[in-house]
């Protein structure tokens, strides 16, 4: 189950953070997202030979913490998407699919002429699309 998704701009400024748990640990999730930014920078600057290629957008599993797994994705415009999930058996293809749909929703939100680049995304449509994508995450693998 996905507990949190975040969009972080190229100056590490948060553009959108949304948690999907009823528990009141939003602060802890924000902290996890913040720590993962360092890991993203490290992955991009020092590519591991066995890991993904240097210029691929999907960065894979960044690091496991407590009972969460954190996945990262870096776009061409240096915008980072962070995904925090509690699922134990997450398939790579599912996460890639998730990020692809999330990226499409993000591009549509940023193309809004009333959106100011660098400020938080306040579009309700974007929030709804994200919650739809989050709900359908992992359901296809159950079939």
């Amino acid at each position: 189950m996905i507990v949190c998704v975040a969009v972080v701009g190229h100056q590490n400024n948060p553009l959108y953070i949304q948690s999907f748990t009823e528990a009141d640990d939003a602060l802890k999730l924000h902290h996890i997202v913040h720590c993962s930014l360092d890991v993203v920078d490290e992955r991009v600057n020092n590519p591991k030979k066995t890991g993904p290629l240097l210029n691929e957008t999907f960065l894979g599993l960044l690091y496991p913490i407590e009972n969460f797994k954190v996945y990262g994705y870096l776009t061409n415009t240096k915008v980072k998407f962070i995904l925090v999930t509690t699922d134990l058996d997450v398939k790579d293809a599912d996460v890639r699919n998730f990020f692809r749909r999330f990226h499409a929703a993000y591009v549509d939100a940023v193309s809004n002429p009333f959106h100011v680049p660098g400020k938080k995304i306040t579009s309700r449509t974007f929030a709804e699309r994200v919650s739809t994508i989050v709900k359908s995450f992992g359901l296809s693998s159950a079939v």
């Binding site: 240097l54 210029n55 957008t57 776009t75 415009t77 499409a104 993000y106 193309s111 002429p113 680049p117």
Partner: protein, 176 residues
């Protein structure tokens, strides 16, 4: 080749934008009008860069980004490639388009040319005015290029020259 309605709409809109900014909003301040038009282009380029770099892996260096502009980006915007790319390998790139579609329907008034032989002093201003008017139409695509590159993290200055209608060249100077 079939021409889409939206292409004609965009052509007319851009012509009207330039005319509005130059004649109505900032009547004698052409620099200010040019900067405003370029800023509109900047925002458009910013947003287009998110959309068109979505499917691609990240660029390794500036040259790859410029080559992407010449091939894929220009193809998406104008249904053709850039015809000629030159670089001095020190941060300056010149992109030449031999038939830039937003200049394709423009022409210089032939009366201005014929008055060249009659009155030498009047024609340079008439010819200059025409080139100046056409140059105003190039600020928007310059803004698009600058916005596109700046969203990729490449700060640059973009300027355009008209060689012979409808050929034009965009010069991108990357700030080191």
């Amino acid at each position: 080749m079939v021409r889409e309605v939206s292409e004609s709409c965009l052509d007319n809109l851009l012509t009207e934008v330039v005319s509005c900014y130059c004649n109505r909003f900032y009547p004698n301040k052409h620099d200010l009008a040019a900067r405003r038009i370029e800023a509109i282009g900047y925002q458009v380029g910013h947003q287009l860069s998110e959309r068109y770099t979505m499917e691609r892996p990240r660029f390794n260096d500036h040259l790859e980004a410029i080559k992407f502009i010449c091939k894929d980006f220009w193809l998406e915007l104008f249904k053709k490639h850039i015809d000629n790319l030159r670089t001095n390998h020190r941060g300056t790139f010149v992109l030449q388009d031999n038939k830039f579609c937003w200049l394709a329907h423009m022409s210089i008034d032939p009366l201005a040319d014929s008055s060249k032989s009659a009155d030498g002093s009047a024609s340079p201003t008439a010819g200059n005015k025409a080139t100046h008017a056409m140059k105003m139409h190039l600020y928007f695509p310059c803004g698009i290029l600058r916005g596109f590159l700046s969203n990729l993290g490449i700060l640059c200055a973009v300027s355009a020259d008209i060689l012979t209608l409808p050929t034009c060249a965009f010069t991108i100077r990357i700030k080191a």
